[in-house]
């Protein structure tokens, strides 16, 4: 479903702040794969997701989603194929617009925006039902401004928006990192529900090793702009944090994972 071939990205090339964030990443995701991504700070996790989303063009390599080469497509055109939830709860929704308006915007992802009504009566009823599934009471606050919601509510809403038009690919960029543990667990379980229901091909970055092991059918660990570990199938099911650390040390010759990942 997603194919990354030899992706390179260097920021601030030619300056003292030069940073090679992606150093020849190749990654293939099968349809329905739920891949968790871990790695220390600066390993290139978020850069990888931003490269797929098209936030900026990559220096080298090709990206195809469902057979379509999107390497040269601007962000808003790639959005047709991609649903996204960001780390910052503020980022995924328009705070000054109503809950139902935000959903209506998401319902038109990948479609032309015409002079037809921005939201219809039928949609309102549909959104109310969908919001009920979140179990956060948002179905009674359809016309509230999203800015009034808590971080957890906003992330749950963003998740709903990302999956409203079934995406070929769901990108979750540490979407529970800014939440308290209880809310994070709720949002994570909502993620499982939605991904399972629609069989979404998903890339989920997390800073939490246990979450990375507990969710998804495949786990990759990034290190210095590359995929250092790629574990799937039975091996992934039996994986423990200790195994992961040991394998990571073998693969990279670094014990960085211990400090950065366990503490982070």
């Amino acid at each position: 479903m997603l194919k990354l071939e030899n992706i390179y990205k260097t920021f601030n090339a030619g300056t003292v702040n030069e940073k090679t964030a992606l150093n020849g990443v190749s990654l293939h995701l099968q349809e329905g794969d739920f891949v968790t991504v871990i790695g220390g700070n600066g390993a290139g996790k978020s850069t990888l997701l931003n490269a797929v989303a098209g936030v900026w063009p990559v220096d080298e390599g090709t990206i195809t989603i469902g057979g379509v080469d999107v390497t040269r497509l601007p962000e808003h055109k790639r959005a047709k194929y991609i649903g996204r939830v960001f780390q910052d709860p503020m980022m995924g929704t328009a705070a000054t617009m109503q809950i139902e308006e935000n959903l209506a915007l998401a319902a038109r992802r990948g479609k032309g925006r015409t002079l037809r009504a921005g939201i219809t009566k039928a949609e309102r009823a549909e959104y109310q039902e969908l919001l009920k599934t979140l179990d956060l009471g948002l179905e009674n606050r359809m016309t509230s401004k999203v800015g009034l919601l808590s971080g957890g509510q906003r992330q749950a809403l963003t998740l709903l928006m990302a999956s409203l038009v079934k995406p070929k690919l769901l990108l979750l960029d540490e979407h529970t990192a800014a939440l308290d543990p209880k809310t994070a667990a709720k949002v994570l379980s909502a993620t499982e529900t939605i991904v399972g229901r629609d069989h979404l091909t998903t890339l989920m970055i997390t800073h939490n090793m246990r979450d990375a092991i507990a969710h998804g059918n495949r786990l990759i660990m990034m290190y210095e702009g590359r995929v250092a570990l790629d574990i799937s199938g039975e091996e992934k099911k039996k994986l423990t944090v200790e195994d992961l650390l040991a394998q990571f040390g073998q693969a990279t010759g670094s014990d960085e994972a211990d400090d950065k990942l366990l503490l982070g």
């Binding site: 959005a79 925006r113 808590s150 939440l179 308290d180």
Partner: protein
């Protein structure tokens, strides 16, 4: 005080006309989150375009349409400078505004001002709005519906209705999302650059229409007529917001508040002038100070009067 009361209908008419410009400023400043300084130039472009074409015998409505088109073009230039060339929006607006100074003079055949021949009753009778109609209606020589307050009031209501409809459409909603959160908008497949250009065009189209109406009202267009327009527009937006923000939640009503804000602004100016509180040359200083104060208030409020965070940290759930 009698002076003031006599001048009130004129002040309200003028306020209504500037209110249309202020609605344009509202679209960029509040909806797109861009302070667009193009308006200082495009206001005059509208006025000059209208007066020149109308004086040459072009149909009044066509001349108004041409004025709007000129405003759309001015907005397009600023929009492209910002989105295609990566120039910060404020600077892009300043560049267009500066360039328009020459363009405006060129439209007026290199004269600093051009007048409508309103001494000629045939010309005068064709006009939609004129300062003279204010008197004519009050002494009964013209029907009430020719009063500028009525005519421009209808214009304003039609514009508000159109904008209310437009910003409720898919395209209009996507423009609002572009201003509210560009990253989110792009993630939802919205072409934020195109929307910024579109918003700037619509805004400057309204500004030019307002300029065309003002030059019609006062009987001439002047190269300086748009100087400080952005500040007047912001003043109207802020006055409207301060007075009506608790009352008006609906988008259409918010636009109406802007128009009322412009009227109040002109009533205050008229009051200051009538009571001879200051030399009229200080009016621009007064406007600048008033706007600066109102823009600072929310900032100071959040900085020094913010409620302290609850003990035990922020609850996020």
């Amino acid at each position: 005080m009698l002076d003031f009361l006599n001048a009130l209908p004129g002040a309200i008419s003028q306020g209504l006309i500037w209110g249309i410009m202020a609605i344009g400023v509202y679209l960029t400043y509040k909806i797109l989150d861009i302070a667009d300084l193009t308006v200082d130039g495009s206001f005059c472009t509208g006025g000059a375009m209208f007066v020149v074409l109308f004086s040459q015998g072009v149909n009044l409505w066509l001349a108004l349409l041409a004025a709007v088109a000129a405003g759309l073009a001015a907005g397009l230039v600023t929009g492209l400078l910002h989105t295609l060339c990566g120039i910060p929006a404020i600077l892009a607006g300043i560049l267009t505004q500066l360039g328009l100074w020459s363009v405006n003079l060129a439209i007026m055949s290199m004269k600093a001002n051009v007048a409508l021949n309103i001494i000629n009753p045939q010309v005068l009778n064709q006009l939609l709005v004129s300062l003279r109609f204010v008197q004519d209606v009050s002494n009964g020589s013209r029907p009430f519906y020719q009063h500028p307050i009525f005519v421009v009031g209808v214009f304003t209501l039609v514009i508000i209705a159109l904008l209310y409809w437009f910003f409720g459409t898919e395209l209009g909603c996507s423009i609002r999302a572009t201003g509210a959160n560009p990253a989110m908008a792009r993630a939802q497949g919205i072409n934020t650059r195109r929307n910024q250009v579109l918003g700037l065009m619509i805004s400057n189209g309204l500004v030019a229409l307002s300029g065309a109406l003002l030059s019609q009202y006062q009987g001439f267009a002047d190269a300086n007529m748009g100087r400080g327009a952005i500040v007047i527009g912001l003043a109207a937006v802020i006055i409207g917001e301060v007075i009506f923000s608790k009352l008006f939640r609906n988008f259409g009503l918010k636009l109406l508040a802007v128009s009322i804000g412009a009227i109040l602004y002109y009533m205050v100016i008229q009051l200051v002038l009538s009571l001879k509180l200051m030399d009229s040359n200080y009016l621009k200083l007064l406007s600048a100070v008033v706007v600066a104060v109102f823009l600072s208030v929310p900032y100071w409020k959040s900085k020094y009067f913010a409620k302290p965070a609850k003990r035990g940290g922020v609850t996020r759930a």
